[in-house]
């Protein structure tokens, strides 16, 4: 008797759990389907301007390459000037007639 009651309790608990899981899964699938349908309709109506994307892509790409080239050239000019100035100072130090520098 006790065993039968326990058994039926287990069955009913299992049934309730299964119903909750099934219900949740069905509801979730329904929600997902409706969201998907909404998204699809949105994408169908959307018009993406390909020309604008192309122009932006090319501007960024060549802007980056141009930036690197110009920055490198400017830095090199400055460094070359600094190296020349330092070499000039070293040569003046070698000259015994030049006064000591601070």
């Amino acid at each position: 008797m006790h065993f039968n009651r326990l058994q039926s309790k287990r069955w009913s608990t299992g049934g309730i759990c299964a119903a909750i899981v099934l219900g949740t899964a069905t509801a979730w699938a329904d929600v997902a389907r409706s969201v998907e349908a909404q998204d699809l309709s949105r994408y169908k109506e959307e018009s993406v301007p390909g020309g604008t994307l192309l122009v932006v892509a090319y501007m960024i790409m060549w802007g980056l390459v141009g930036f690197l080239a110009v920055r490198t050239a400017l830095r090199q000019t400055r460094t070359e000037r600094d190296v020349a100035a330092l070499q000039d100072r070293i040569e003046r130090l070698d000259d015994p007639s030049s006064p000591p520098q601070a």
Binding site: Y43, E46, V48, G50, G51, L53, L54, V56, A57, Y58, I60, M61, L64, V65, F67, L68, A69, T72, A73, R75, Q76, T79, E80, D82, V83, L86, Q87, R89, I90, E91, L93, D94, P100, Q101
Partner: protein, 244 residues
Amino acid sequence: MTHQPLHSPAPLNHPKRLIGGLVLGTALVIAALGWVFLATPADENLGIVQKIFYFHVGTAFGMLLCLCAASGAALIDLMAPNDAIDAAGQACTEVGMIFALAVLTSGPLWARKSWGTWWTWEPRLTLTLLVLLISMAVLALRQLAAEPQTGRKIANALAVLAGPVAYLIHIAVQKWGGTHPQVIQGGGIQSATMRIAFWGSVAALLVLGFSLVALRVRGIRLEQKLQACKLELSARELMRARRS
């Protein structure tokens, strides 16, 4: 009387050669752009936005080559430190980073039209982002390290990683799939006009990239020479003060 300098770095490339390389690269890019926009038809499905492809893939090739070269140079410099190799590795990392930025901005702009989204966390895109972050970290370590030699070692150890990751980017689609298309490995380009546009753009970008690396190597070697001159000046001033 002239003294031998205490530090005498190897002679630098003549700027005229570098300017010649840059002019050639720019001329090739202009020719390739002309071919892409004037002679090549727009794609039937994607329309004009497909023309991003020609330079997107070219910059990706440049990025992979630069970062593999940077990785090799970093490994060599870790085993046997050499200023010239280090300069080449650093220049390759910088140009590779610029190309990676170009890939990661042109790609999403194209994806917006063809996939309907700017970004997905699929293997090839994620690995490309990772390689960009690695190259940024390498350059930041070099700039921010309090002790330049330690910074150089740590940055080189990190730069070695860029090579294997670049290889993984190349094989990512075959290995793990994802949404990224495989045009070259997966059948190639059918139209002859498009093929010329594609390989012309790749060649132009590689010449331009190589010229940029050479220009940057010269800049880094000049900076190394500047540091050597500063050291030499300090040493000579000290010797002179002791004598007097």
